[in-house]
C-alpha cells in the first residue's frame, strides 16, 4: 500500500505548464479563437459599412464620407415598396412555416402516428435541398404553366393560385424553411417533461385539450426562436424572390441588392452599401430581439426531476387527418417538385404541351460531363463543402469550448461573434468579403481572391452559426464536473479539452460535419461575388445554365446535387450508427 506520510512532499507532484509571456496555453488558444472570429466576422461588415458612407465605389480614390447614400436610398422611388414587400414576404413566410411545422412537430413527436419515424425523417428533407432547386421545382409544377397548374386549370377551368405573388413566394420559402421550425419544436417537445401531459390526462383532459392547453403554450420558446430565425433568413434569401418575383416586378431587399449590384446599368455602390447596412441592421436586431425574448422565455422551460418516459397521445380519427396533412406537405411541397426536377433532367423539353416521354434523353447530363468547367464546378462544390465542413466544424468546436467551457474573459464575445453571421445575408458576405480581400494587407487578398479559398471563407462564415449551434447543446449535456475532475487531477484547460472533451464531443462533431457539409454544398449566394473562372460551384453554374436557357442541365445539376447530399447524409448516418453500436 502506498504510504501517505505527513512530512514527505507529494509522491507525484502535478506537472508544471509553461506560460509564454505570462499567458497559459489556454490563453493563447482562447485569444487566437477570438481574434480569428473577429477578423472573419468583421472582414465583410467593415467594408460594407464603410462603403455605405462613401460617396463613390471603394475602388475609386478620393471618396468623401457622408450620409448621402442613405438619403438617396430612402428617397429613391420604389424603395418604400421594397421595404413593404420584404416585410410582407418575411412575415408571411414565417407565419406559414409555423403553420406547417408546429402542428407537425406536435403530431409526430407527441402522438401515436402510424409511420411516425418515417414522417419525422421526411420532415427534414426539404432542409437538405437548396431553395434555389426547390424554387425551380415549384415553377415546373405550380408555375402559371406548370404541370400541376395546367391539370388543375383543365379540371376547374381556372387556376386558384398564383405562384408569382408574395403569398406564392412565401409558401415556397416556407416549405423550404419549415424544417428549421420543425427541428426546434420537435427538440423541445422531446425534452419536455411528459408528465405534464399525463397530469392533464389524469385530470380528465382529452387529447385535443392537452394539445391546446398544455403542449402548445409550452412551445413558445422554440417558436419564438425559430420564427425569428426564419424571418431573418427570408429577408436575405435570394433565389425564390429572384425566380418568382422578378417577372412580376416584386422586389424585396435581396433582389434589390442583386439587381442594383450586379445587373444594373450603372451600379450605385453607395446605395448598395447603404441597403446592405440596413439589411444587416434589420437582421441583427431580429437576432438581438430573439436573444432577449428567449432570455425571458427561460421560465417556460420546465425540464426537471427524473426524466419521465413520454407516453404518446392517441389522437383517434384525427391521426389520419394528420397523416394526410403531413403526407400532403412532403409530397406536394418537396417530392413532386423534386421528382419533376429529376424527370426534367432526363428530357429535352419539359412542357405540359407535349408528352415529356417523347423527348427522353441523357443529353442534359452529357452536357455537364463534357464541359470540364461544369465537372470542375461539381468537384469544386465538393471540395468547398468538404474542406469547409472540416474547418468550420473545428472552428465551431473551439468556439463552443471557449464560449461555454472556459473562464475566458471574452467568452461571451466569442459566442456572439460565432453566431453573428446568422444575421449576415449571403450577398453581403459576398460583397463585403470581396472588398475586404481586395484591401487585405500583404497581398493576402490576391492570394485568396477568386480561388476556392475565398469561397471556403465566405461559405464557411455563413455556416459557422449552424456548426456552433449544433455542437453547443451537446457540450451543455456533458456535465461540467467531467472537466473539473480532469482539472483537479492535474490537466490544464487544453489537455482537458484534448483528452476528455474532444473524445466525448466526437458524435456532436460528426453531426456538425454533416450539417455544415450540407449547408456548404447548397450555399451559393456569396459565390455570386466571390467566385471566378476557376472557382465555379454547382450553385453558380446552375444560375449560369439557367440564364443560358439550358434548363435541362440545370435540372440535371440539381439532381446531381440532391443525389450527392442524399448519399452523403445516408452514408454519414450509417457510419454514425455503426460507431454508436461499437461504442
Amino acid at each position: 500500500m502506498t504510504t501517505l506520510s505527513p512530512t514527505r512532499p507529494p509522491a507525484h507532484p502535478p506537472p508544471r505548464y509553461r506560460r509564454p509571456l505570462g499567458l497559459g496555453r489556454e490563453g493563447w488558444l482562447q485569444y487566437g479563437v477570438l481574434l480569428l472570429l473577429a477578423v472573419l466576422v468583421l472582414a465583410p461588415v467593415v467594408p460594407t459599412l464603410y462603403q455605405s458612407f462613401l460617396d463613390r465605389p471603394l475602388y475609386e480614390a478620393g471618396g468623401v464620407l457622408g450620409a448621402g447614400n442613405y438619403v438617396r436610398l430612402f428617397t429613391e422611388a420604389g424603395f418604400g415598396r421594397v421595404v413593404l414587400d420584404t416585410a410582407l414576404f418575411a412575415g408571411l413566410t414565417t407565419v406559414l412555416s409555423l403553420l406547417i411545422a408546429v402542428p407537425m412537430a406536435v403530431v409526430v413527436v407527441r402522438t401515436k402516428l402510424p409511420g411516425g419515424r418515417v414522417f419525422a425523417a421526411a420532415m427534414q428533407w426539404p432542409f437538405f435541398i437548396s431553395s434555389l432547386i426547390l424554387g425551380f421545382g415549384w415553377i415546373t409544377m405550380y408555375g402559371p404553366a406548370g404541370f400541376v397548374s395546367v391539370e388543375v386549370r383543365r379540371i376547374l377551368g381556372f387556376l386558384p393560385w398564383n405562384l408569382y405573388s408574395i403569398p406564392g413566394m412565401a409558401l415556397t420559402e416556407a416549405v423550404a424553411l419549415a424544417p428549421i421550425v420543425y427541428t426546434f419544436c420537435a427538440g423541445a417537445l422531446r425534452q419536455s417533461d411528459a408528465s405534464l401531459e399525463a397530469a392533464a390526462q389524469v385530470c380528465g383532459a382529452g387529447p385535443l385539450r392537452i394539445l391546446r392547453s398544455v403542449i402548445l403554450p409550452l412551445l413558445r420558446p422554440p417558436v419564438v426562436y425559430s420564427s425569428i430565425l426564419v424571418a431573418s433568413m427570408s429577408v436575405e434569401t435570394l433565389s425564390v424572390p429572384l425566380l418568382f418575383g422578378q417577372p412580376v416586378g416584386i422586389d424585396v431587399f435581396s433582389t434589390f441588392l442583386y439587381r442594383n449590384g450586379l445587373q444594373s446599368i450603372n451600379p450605385d455602390y453607395g446605395v448598395l452599401g447603404a441597403a446592405s447596412a440596413i439589411i444587416l441592421l434589420v437582421t441583427v436586431s431580429l437576432v438581438a430581439l430573439q436573444a432577449k425574448l428567449l432570455k425571458d422565455a427561460q421560465r417556460f422551460v420546465s425540464v426537471r426531476g427524473k426524466a419521465t418516459r413520454p407516453r404518446p397521445l392517441d389522437l383517434g380519427w384525427l391521426k389520419w387527418i394528420s397523416v394526410a396533412a403531413i403526407a400532403f406537405y412532403v409530397v406536394m411541397g418537396a417530392l413532386i417538385p423534386i421528382g419533376g426536377l429529376v424527370f426534367r433532367s432526363f428530357t429535352q423539353v419539359f412542357t405540359p404541351l407535349q408528352s415529356p416521354f417523347k423527348t427522353l434523353t441523357g443529353d442534359n447530363y452529357e452536357r455537364i460531363f463534357t464541359y470540364p468547367v461544369y465537372v470542375q464546378s461539381i468537384v469544386n462544390s465538393l471540395i468547398v463543402a468538404a474542406v469547409g465542413a472540416v474547418l468550420v466544424s473545428v472552428l465551431s468546436l473551439l468556439a463552443v469550448m471557449v464560449a461555454r467551457r472556459s473562464t475566458f474573459r471574452f467568452a461571451r464575445a466569442v459566442e456572439n461573434l460565432a453566431l453573428a453571421p446568422q444575421a449576415m445575408p449571403g450577398i453581403i458576405v459576398g460583397i463585403g468579403l470581396f472588398w475586404a480581400l481586395a484591401f487585405a494587407p500583404f497581398g493576402l487578398g490576391s492570394l485568396v481572391q477568386g480561388t476556392l479559398w475565398a469561397l471556403i471563407i465566405g461559405f464557411g462564415l455563413r455556416a459557422l452559426p449552424s456548426g456552433f449551434g449544433s455542437i453547443s447543446p451537446s457540450i451543455m449535456q456533458i456535465g461540467r464536473e467531467l472537466d473539473n475532475a480532469a482539472r483537479v487531477s492535474g490537466a490544464d484547460w487544453v489537455r482537458t479539452f484534448s483528452r476528455i472533451l474532444a473524445s466525448l464531443l466526437r458524435p456532436a462533431f460528426a453531426g456538425a460535419l454533416i450539417l455544415t457539409f450540407v449547408t456548404l454544398l447548397k450555399e451559393y449566394s456569396p459565390a455570386v461575388f466571390l467566385g471566378s473562372a476557376d472557382s465555379n460551384i454547382i450553385g453558380t453554374t446552375m444560375l449560369e445554365l439557367w440564364v443560358q436557357g439550358n434548363t435541362g442541365s440545370v435540372a440535371a445539376l440539381a439532381s446531381l446535387q440532391i443525389a450527392i447530399t442524399a448519399t452523403f447524409v445516408g452514408l454519414a448516418g450509417l457510419l454514425l450508427k455503426g460507431r454508436d453500436k461499437n461504442a
Partner: protein, 357 residues
C-alpha cells in the same frame, strides 16, 4: 429565319498550327516567342458561356499548342468591369482579357484612363467598320436578337414587332401577361431596347400595344423555357445565340424569327486589360478571334460571326445570314456609346410605364 433546323455538326475547322496569316507583320514570330515564355496561361473575364468558348479555346490551343490553361468565367455583364476595376485599383488583377456585350459599361470602362492595354490588331483592316467598337476594343461576335414564339399557342408566325402586335391585337385579353421582353433595368435589356427604339422611333406604336401585355425577364434562357412551357406564348428581344440549340431540341414547339422591322445586333467586345499578366498571349488571342479561323470557331460555339470569309453552314450562324433575312437596312448594330443618365432614366420610365410597373 433560323427556326427549325436540325443540329447537324458542321465540318471540322481547319487550323494552321503555329502559322500567322501572311498579312501579319514580320515580327509576329517574336510575339509568339514572348507568349511561349509566358507559360501558356490565359485568364478571361467574360459574360460568355462555356459552350460558346469551347470551340474557340479548342482551336486556339490547336493553333498555339503551348497554351495549356485557358479559363474564362461567366459573370454578369457589368460585373466583369467592376471586378477588373476593383482589382486594378487595389493592385494586380489576374485578368488578361475582358469580354462583354455590355455596351454602356464598355464605354464607361474604356473611357477611364489606364484600364486597357493599347493594341492595334493586324486583323483590323480585314474587318467591317464596326469591327473596332471603341479604340482597342474589338467585336468578337455580332449577336442578333429575335422574336421567339410557341408554335402551338401563337396563331401565325410573327415576322417583326409590327406583325406580332397585329397577331396579339386579335385578342389582347387572352395574351395578357403572355408576352415576354427583356428587363430594361438590366444593362443588356436597356442597350438592345434603347438601340431599337432609337433607330426605329416609329415602332413605339407597336410597343404601345405589345408592352402592356408583356412581362420582363432577365435572361433569354428563362424567356425560352417559359415560352416552351406555355407560360408565355412569345417573346421579343430574345438572344438568338442561345435560342438556336433550344429551337433544334424543341421538336418544332419553339421557333424564332428575325424582326423585319429592325433586328438589333449586339456586338460582343473584347479588349486586353491594362497590366494583363500575359500580354503576348492576350494579343495572340485577340488576333485569333478576329481571324478567319477564329471567327469560324466563334460561329461553331453558337455566337454569330461577322467576317465575310466565314460561310454560313449547318450549325454555323453568321451576320451575313441575318442581312440576307431582313436586309442590310433592317439590321441595327448597337453602338458602344454611353447614354447619359437622364436619358437612361426617361427611357426606362417610359418603357416600364408601358409594362405597367
Amino acid at each position: 429565319g433560323g427556326g427549325g433546323e436540325a443540329a447537324k455538326a458542321p465540318p471540322p475547322n481547319r487550323i494552321a498550327t503555329g502559322q500567322a496569316p501572311s498579312y501579319y507583320p514580320a515580327d509576329y514570330a517574336r510575339l509568339m516567342e514572348a507568349s511561349r515564355k509566358e507559360g501558356g496561361t490565359l485568364t478571361i473575364y467574360s459574360n460568355t458561356d462555356q459552350e460558346n468558348w469551347a470551340p474557340i479555346f479548342r482551336d486556339f490551343q490547336k493553333k498555339y499548342p503551348w497554351v495549356t490553361k485557358l479559363a474564362a468565367n461567366n459573370l454578369d455583364s457589368d460585373e466583369v468591369f467592376q471586378r477588373v476595376l476593383s482589382e486594378q485599383a487595389t493592385g494586380s488583377s489576374p485578368a488578361d482579357l475582358v469580354v462583354s456585350n455590355a455596351a454602356q459599361a464598355w464605354a464607361d470602362f474604356a473611357a477611364r484612363p489606364g484600364t486597357l492595354t493599347e493594341y492595334a490588331s493586324p486583323e483590323k483592316d480585314k474587318l467591317p467598320d464596326f469591327g473596332e467598337l471603341l479604340p482597342h476594343v474589338y467585336a468578337m461576335s455580332i449577336d442578333p436578337l429575335s422574336i421567339a414564339y410557341n408554335t402551338s399557342l401563337l396563331p401565325g408566325k410573327p415576322t417583326g414587332l409590327k406583325s406580332l402586335a397585329a397577331i396579339l391585337a386579335k385578342d389582347p385579353a387572352q395574351y395578357k401577361s403572355k408576352i415576354t421582353t427583356r428587363d430594361v433595368s438590366g444593362a443588356f435589356g436597356f442597350t438592345v431596347s434603347h438601340a431599337f427604339a432609337e433607330a426605329r422611333p416609329e415602332s413605339w406604336a407597336s410597343l404601345q400595344s405589345v408592352l402592356p401585355l408583356a412581362r420582363p425577364e432577365t435572361s433569354s434562357g428563362t424567356q425560352m423555357e417559359k415560352i416552351i412551357s406555355g407560360e408565355y406564348v412569345a417573346g421579343f428581344f430574345v438572344s438568338a445565340a442561345p435560342a438556336y440549340p433550344v429551337v433544334a431540341k424543341s421538336g418544332g414547339l419553339l421557333a424564332i424569327s428575325f424582326l423585319d422591322d429592325g433586328t438589333v445586333a449586339l456586338p460582343r467586345g473584347i479588349g486586353i486589360a491594362a497590366g494583363a499578366p500575359h500580354p503576348a498571349t492576350s494579343k495572340l488571342f485577340v488576333d485569333f478571334v478576329l481571324s478567319q479561323e477564329g471567327q469560324r470557331a466563334v460561329a461553331e460555339g453558337g455566337l454569330t460571326s461577322y467576317r465575310d470569309d466565314v460561310p454560313a453552314a449547318d450549325g454555323l450562324h453568321t451576320y451575313q445570314e441575318l442581312v440576307k433575312a431582313v436586309g442590310e437596312a433592317n439590321v441595327i448594330v448597337a453602338r458602344y456609346t454611353k447614354v447619359p443618365d437622364a436619358e437612361v432614366e426617361s427611357f426606362t420610365d417610359k418603357w416600364n410605364g408601358l409594362l405597367g410597373r
